[in-house]
């Protein structure tokens, strides 16, 4: 089984890539920097997912390298520091839309073409707990993540006749280096807003990915699984 993961050099993407490699899967990853994984079953490329041309070439190279794509996890994204809307610059908004929305769109579109020829595939996009919390200071970020949910639901309807499922995973806080840098006070404040007041583990995220990708989940599409939060 071939799984494609964007944003695989660090954070959740890196954790997922290592998890699925350990399970014996073939993994293709990308990031804007060099690979941080060395494994015989890992194929890495430097890609800016916001660049259509780069994404086209990358997806074509995966097809050549592994011959097929069974599962896509669109994980690459930006999460800037919270800013009230009145203080959020157009540049911050543009960057979020380019990476989170256009990046997800570009990768899903190109991978969908491969899956259409296969008449099979699982696409998983990544939203956020921010969409359900409606927190002050997250208008640009939560807006971009809400767009991903809507885009995925429409994609699910368009691709269902070809046997392709499309679902969304919306993790809460994970124990990654980037989150750790936020500091204990900020992390505790965020955890307090969750229904399940603890961090989510990479293994728990991978469990949801595996659930969506499982052969017995072929009738599940257009769904969002929120982790740690009732929405």
């Amino acid at each position: 089984m071939v799984i494609v993961i964007t944003g695989a050099s660090r954070g959740i993407g890196n954790g997922m890539a290592r998890h699925f490699l350990a399970q014996g899967l073939l993994v293709a990853g990308c990031s804007r920097g060099d690979s941080t994984i060395e494994h015989d079953n890992y194929f890495h490329c430097i890609v800016d997912v916001g660049d259509e041309g780069q994404v086209r070439g990358w997806v074509r190279s995966i097809k050549k390298h592994f011959g097929r794509i069974d599962t896509l996890v669109c994980n690459a994204g930006h999460a800037p520091a919270n800013l009230l809307m009145a203080m959020t610059s157009g540049a911050v908004l543009s960057d979020l839309l380019q990476v989170n929305v256009a990046g997800t769109f570009n990768v899903c579109r190109e991978v969908a073409k491969v899956m259409l020829l296969q008449r099979f595939g699982t696409i998983i996009t990544t939203s956020s707990m921010a969409v359900g919390l409606h927190e002050e200071g997250t208008s640009a970020y939560a807006g971009s993540k809400a767009a991903i949910v809507e885009m995925t639901k429409i994609m699910a309807k368009e691709l269902a006749p070809a046997g392709i499922t499309c679902n969304v995973i919306a993790p809460s806080i994970l124990s990654t280096d980037a989150v750790g840098e936020l500091g204990e006070a900020i992390i505790n404040r965020a955890l307090d807003k969750l229904t399940i007041k603890r961090m989510v583990s990479i293994e728990e995220v991978c469990n949801v990915v595996s659930f969506f990708a499982a052969p017995v989940s072929r009738c599940i599409t257009g769904q969002v699984i929120h982790m740690g939060l009732v929405c």
Partner: protein, 98 residues
């Protein structure tokens, strides 16, 4: 790649789609065969599948990567969304000859 070869690749793509059950009937590709628009046998998903398949076939035949960008086709009118096999063949000849 000339027009004749491009039309043959389209024939191969249609035959493949028929074999896989995506098309109920066999199609004989001629320059006037409608790929997109009124009179085509392809639904929207079938059209995307056809174009994706053609990209792979052209790239394999030519030995380098090619992408079919509809908006680059001189004779393609996005307002009317109409594309014939002949128009596509001329576009393929043009990009593969560059």
């Amino acid at each position: 790649m000339d027009e004749k070869r491009a039309l043959q690749l389209m024939q191969d793509a249609f035959d493949s789609m028929h074999r896989s059950g995506m098309l109920d009937e066999t199609i004989t590709v001629e320059p006037t065969t409608v790929i997109l628009g009124s009179g085509t046998v392809l639904d929207s998903l079938g059209f995307v599948t056809f174009i994706s398949d053609m990209e792979e076939r052209i790239s394999a035949a030519a030995g380098q990567e090619y992408y079919l960008i509809l908006t680059e086709i001189h004779e393609y009118n996005a307002e009317e969304a109409f594309l014939s096999a002949g128009t596509l063949a001329r576009y393929i000849e043009k990009i593969s000859g560059q």
